[in-house]
């Protein structure tokens, strides 16, 4: 009865997922052996080029040659899959696959995955943002970092007037910002729309471990160290963001936000595993 207009699209999407899963059943392993499972940690380490990111720290220069200092940097990582050496995937159960990475909360940057089947992993896949389906789910499916009234609210990672999560939020100061307070604001969200079509700024990131491996065993709980480079948020395949030209990018500039999403899809890489 509910969601009349979105229903066919949703059904189609679900069907597609099932069909896809049916066609490539080596791709996912929804029922990993629970007896032989360990842990792996993904560390999301935010950097600016070759420097560590420090909120309110020293000034950096973006791809447009503009100075900037970040004051806030948060983003959602979700729908994590780990690639085994044999080409199959371990998919983290969806309900426990949402993480909010916050630059000012060190513990949020360490994504610990438990119940990971013993195996040698050579890559991973995750979504930047919160998938469209979750964006339309009832409130009981929005717990933890997805709670629209929970801890997230302090950081405002949810648009209450236009139901939907903000996938990546970057704020900072720049001498080039045209705002009254000298700050720039990039709040990138939009999941495709509930009953109208909007841009979809969720991005799936696939990262190989290059020549490295993560062996999850009884004794080994490896840590995959991932860099997220702020400079690539500004300049990438989507656009070269000028703070002067775009001091604010939020929900009202969907095309621009899409370009930024194409950038953040490319800002991650695996640096090392320990």
């Amino acid at each position: 009865m509910k969601k009349k207009e979105a229903m066919p699209a949703l059904l189609a999407a679900i069907l597609c997922v099932f069909m896809l899963a049916a066609c490539t059943d080596v791709d996912t392993d929804p029922n990993p052996a629970t007896g032989d499972a360990g842990a792996i940690t993904l560390e999301f380490d935010n950097i600016v080029g070759d420097k560590n990111l420090v909120l309110g720290g020293g000034s950096s220069t973006n791809g447009a040659g503009e100075d900037f200092v970040l004051t806030k940097f948060n983003y959602y990582i979700s729908n994590i899959k780990l690639l085994r050496q044999d080409g199959t995937y371990y998919t983290v159960p969806q309900d426990s696959s949402y993480f909010l990475i916050m630059e000012d909360k060190k513990e949020s940057q360490l994504v610990k995955l438990n119940n990971v089947p013993y195996a040698t992993y050579t890559g991973l896949e995750f979504m930047v943002g919160v998938d469209s389906a979750r964006n339309t789910m009832p409130i009981e499916k929005r717990t933890g970092v997805l709670d629209p009234g929970g801890s997230m609210m302090e950081d405002g990672m949810y648009w209450a007037w236009n139901s939907g999560y903000i996938f990546m939020k970057m704020e900072g100061t720049s001498s080039k910002a045209t705002s009254a307070n000298g700050k720039f604001y990039y709040h990138i969200g939009l999941f495709g729309g509930y009953d109208i079509k909007t841009v979809n700024n969720t991005r799936v990131v696939k990262l190989g471990f290059n020549n490295l491996q993560a062996n999850v065993t009884k004794d080994d709980a490896p840590e995959v160290h991932i860099f997220a480079d702020v400079l690539k948020f500004f300049k990438g395949p989507g656009t070269n963001v000028s703070i002067k030209e775009y001091t604010s990018i939020m929900s009202q500039q969907p095309e621009k936000s899409k370009e930024v999403a194409d950038n953040y899809a490319q800002m991650f890489n695996v640096d090392h595993i320990h």
């Binding site: 009865m1 969601k3 009349k4 009832p138 009234g149 929970g150 209450a160 109208i196």
Partner: protein
């Protein structure tokens, strides 16, 4: 006059439910799974309320199986709805801008004022028949009743508070300084089994209360249910005119098709672009939700910005003042004439007489929907 909705909220006692469930189990066993709701044989817990759809209404949109109504849940929702504790200043409740005597609108206010008298940009819409809404707010930015309250609570000119902080404040009740010392942890326990307060529980309680805000007992409804004398000749004439000239948008028993349309209002200074703010699609520029007309005689002022104070002004707009624009709704286009709805003065009078028959006096006087003593009206 008949009273077709007398038993709108029938209380089913647990004993009766349990006895019924036991009977079913005995006679049909597990084979009968089709329309048998599992009933927990618990001896304590909230008392279920059977929510009954008015006979002439369509099926509700809200999925009540996810949030079954209970006496205690609705009562908690009623307190939360009226309590200013939801705002940063502890002064502004939902009921401040949604007052029962005005069918839960802010009577006399073109725009509403929230914390510190800060003004909003839109006219406060009626909180009624929420179970049938496909979306909420003038721009339809929220599509789930359970997610609605986050918006006014965190809007800086409405309640300017975070739900997280509201929960912290609720946990600290009862407060001796409050105008009425309400023990919220105890109320959450009664409604949900434990004292734990979460945003899910808070929103579900608010939804439960709002789902009981059903307006379906106007004179029009009595007429609809078979009482020919419920409307006079002029009102019946107005109804026929309304159906011919207004019901393409204000359709059905809820008097809205829940669509978004540009009805030719000249944008005011803030240039509110309506639905465009949600879709960022030029085709949605200046479109706003078609509001329900139930209780429209009680909900002045009108339009998304409250610019018209009387129904006469509203109909004059539709007959004479529609502003042409790229997204103006095609329903107003007239061959060889400027856009508008063709209405004579006499026709307008009849239509307004009919619209006033949609006033639901029982709804605005229903004690079960009224302020339990925690609210503020400004």
């Amino acid at each position: 006059m008949s009273a077709p909705f007398k038993g709108n909220f029938v209380l089913i006692t647990r004993h009766f439910t349990n006895a019924l469930a036991a009977l079913f189990l005995i006679f049909f066993g597990l084979a009968c799974q089709k329309d048998q709701e599992p009933v927990e044989p618990v001896s304590t817990g909230p008392t279920p309320i059977a929510w009954t759809k008015p006979k002439h209404f369509p099926d509700p949109v809200y999925d009540m199986s996810r949030n079954p109504l209970t006496e205690e849940g609705v009562e908690l929702g009623r307190f939360l709805f009226y309590d200013g504790i939801l705002s940063r200043t502890n002064q502004i409740g939902c009921g401040t801008c949604h007052q029962q005597e005005a069918a839960f609108t802010h009577h006399g206010h073109e725009l509403s004022h929230g914390v510190d008298d800060l003004l909003g940009t839109r006219n406060s819409p009626a909180v009624q028949n929420m179970a049938w809404n496909t979306s909420f707010f003038w721009d339809g930015g929220v599509h789930d009743l359970d997610l609605l309250p986050f918006n006014p609570i965190q809007n800086p000119v409405e309640m300017d508070e975070t739900v997280k902080n509201v929960i912290t404040k609720l946990q600290a009740t009862p407060l001796p300084t409050a105008k009425k010392a309400v023990d919220y942890p105890q109320m959450f326990k009664k409604a949900f089994g434990t004292e734990e307060i979460t945003s899910e529980r808070m929103m579900k309680a608010l939804s439960q209360f709002m789902l009981t805000m059903v307006s379906a007992e106007s004179r029009y409804d009595y007429y609809k249910m078979g009482d020919q004398s419920a409307l006079n000749a002029d009102e019946k004439q107005g109804m026929a005119l309304f159906q011919a000239k207004c019901s393409s948008c204000h359709a059905g028993e809820l008097f809205t098709d829940y669509s978004f349309r540009n009805n030719g209002l000249v944008p005011l200074r803030i240039d509110d672009k309506g639905r465009f703010g949600i879709s960022a699609n030029n085709a949605d520029l200046y479109k706003f939700k078609v509001p329900s007309l139930r209780n429209v005689g009680l909900t002045a002022p009108y339009m998304h910005d409250g610019r018209f104070h009387t129904l006469e002004e509203v109909l004059d707009h539709y007959s004479d003042s529609i502003k042409p624009s790229a997204t103006l709704d095609s329903v107003f286009i007239r061959q060889g004439e400027k856009p508008g709805i063709t209405l004579s003065d006499a026709e307008k009078k009849s239509i307004i007489a009919f619209l006033r028959s949609l006033n639901d006096e029982q709804f605005i006087r229903n004690a079960k929907l009224s302020d339990p003593g925690v609210g503020t009206n400004f």
